[in-house]
């Protein structure tokens, strides 16, 4: 920076630390609450340091679940969330990369029609077609199934465009060299295009994993069995019974568990994540 007066630097860090405090405080206090017995948590004001019930609270929700919401272990819902998040991320990447490959490397009748058809999905989030989409899923017998949680969400205009942009930057000569080497289209795709897309796939995977993990409305509609639902939905289920029997310590433990995987992915893969989010065209 141009100025380097000490008080400007001090102000900068003060503002940033305040921001960090606001951003991390809710998460920290949730963690504190999840490590205390319930009587400590409902005390006013609550304790500011972690307590000694970490193991009790977490083993209870993970292994036995919470009585007021059907005693289904949270471990089951974490597994459901994981299947859904991985399924959505992998599914979106797989079908989008194939579509982009077809659209960029082939010319065929109706090509632009397909392109626009995919584009339109951008304008139709689940939220605007809730009831009829639910009906389709019900008619196809997809309620309370992993297929039902994953399949309707894996069309992706964004991912398709992203791969299309990337393929357009791959030099033509590479495809020509592959043709001279005798590679057919699928061979070129698997041996050359796919390895070259690794960085893009990794970045996209982080973003889509979080997107899948944090899905809310669709799992809320499609899962009615407690043991098919996701951990995010179970957080809400716990909140809704909180007035009957306040179990804030367990609720916060479940909330921590619901946050842990996506937060870990973001922090561990920060480089890919930031690249994929902010500069997707590269």
């Amino acid at each position: 920076m141009v100025e380097s007066r000490w008080w400007i630097t001090a102000l900068t860090h003060a503002v940033l630390l305040l921001g960090v405090l606001v951003v991390l405080l809710p998460i920290y206090l949730a963690f504190v609450a999840s490590t205390h017995p319930v009587q400590n948590v409902i005390q006013v004001p609550m304790p500011m340091l972690p307590g000694g019930h970490f193991w009790e609270n977490y083993s209870q929700v993970l292994g036995r679940g919470v009585p007021t919401v059907g005693n289904v272990p949270i471990a089951v819902m974490l597994f459901n969330s994981l299947v859904m998040a991985l399924g959505i991320a992998a599914g979106k990447i797989a079908i989008s990369i194939l579509s982009a490959f077809a659209i960029v490397y082939f010319r065929f009748p109706l090509r632009m029609a397909f392109f626009w058809l995919i584009f339109i999905t951008l304008m139709l989030p689940v939220e605007v077609r809730i009831v009829p989409t639910f009906q389709v899923a019900a008619d196809l017998n997809l309620l309370n199934s992993y297929t039902g949680l994953i399949l309707p969400l894996i069309a992706s205009a964004t991912a398709t465009f992203l791969f299309r942009q990337f393929f357009l930057t791959v030099p033509d000569e590479l495809a020509e060299a592959a043709r001279m080497d005798g590679a057919g289209p699928m061979r070129f795709f698997f041996d050359i295009l796919l390895p070259l897309s690794r960085t893009n796939i990794a970045a996209l995977f982080v973003i889509l994993f979080i997107y899948g993990w944090n899905q809310y409305l669709w799992p809320l509609l499609i899962t009615t069995d407690r043991d098919m639902t996701t951990v995010v939905i179970s957080v809400q289920a716990l909140v809704s019974v909180m007035e009957e029997e306040p179990q804030w310590h367990l609720l916060m433990a479940v909330a921590m568990l619901a946050m842990l995987p996506p937060v870990a992915v973001v922090l561990l893969m920060q480089r890919w994540f930031v690249k994929g989010l902010v500069e997707p065209e590269k």
Partner: protein
Amino acid sequence: MAEVSFQAVGKTYPGSRTEVIKGISARVADGELMVLLGPSGCGKSTLLRMVAGLERISRGTMAINGRIVNDLEPKDRNIAMVFQNYALYPHMSVFDNMAYGLRIARIPRAEIRARVAEAAQILELTPFLKRKPGQLSGGQRQRVAMGRAIVRNPQVFLFDEPLSNLDAKLRTQMRVEIKKLQTRLGVTSLYVTHDQAEAMTLADRIMVINDGVAEQVAPPLEVYRRPASAFVAGFIGTPAMNFLAGRLCGDGRAVELAGGVRLGLPAPVAGGPMAGGTEGAITVGIRPESLRLDNGHGDLAVAVDLTEMLGADSVVHGRLADNGSTLVARLSGIVPARPGDRLRFTIAADALHLFDTTSGRRLDA
């Protein structure tokens, strides 16, 4: 071993009406290196890509070793190509880059290893086989691209401006290496470039292409000595040939330049633009290096504008005293001519090139 032949080959892009290749016929002999030379946009790369099978042939026939290849896929033509930007697979090691085509052709592993090792040895790439293209210098990448072509033992090599991404010094060096390699392997080759020095050193024969037409197909020295058209004459040689307006006179035994200077010819010229007569407008070409300084008896009086002294040579730019057209002369040694000086030049009668002004074709005795 193979020969490549073109029979009135033409190319029109779909949706366009202009032909970019206008019926080229030629024959590349077995083991010959033919350079396709021309300015950018002349169609030389397109012609090469048609041989490769990367562009469709719109008309005419193309044959490799007598077999018509118009409709064959690139992989079935038994050819290999070196691209301008090398087109190395960035995620594969040097070894894998060279082996890729062989693996697709299901060649046994042991043989792949042997062939790659041999090519690597020829190209001095053995220490780099495990590296990725990104870890190599420009010259090394260029050699990998050549290696990828060599391992396939193709009938024909195609080179698409393979040296244009290298710096001047490396380019001169690689030029010699390519020539040695091609001579040693004896594989029929087509080589595209816009660099005349590259064409002169490498080629067995040069095909000069202009605007989709093969202007001349001949060995380098013949292209230089007897350019078939004014275009070829102007394209080859530095500084470029001088062109002066003139007309034939004296039954085709002499030319008269505008302004009245008369130059004798070694033999009478017949035909050409003066069909029916012997008086007609022509273009006279004079290479700068064929002019000799002769202040006593020189026919051409020149007023000097500028002299470039290059050490071994001096290049004099000036205007003809008689008609004002510009004239460039390349003289050996140091000629301390200053702007405004008057010099006189002579030219040997057999160093004059005559062209039909309208068609641009060469006129000969």
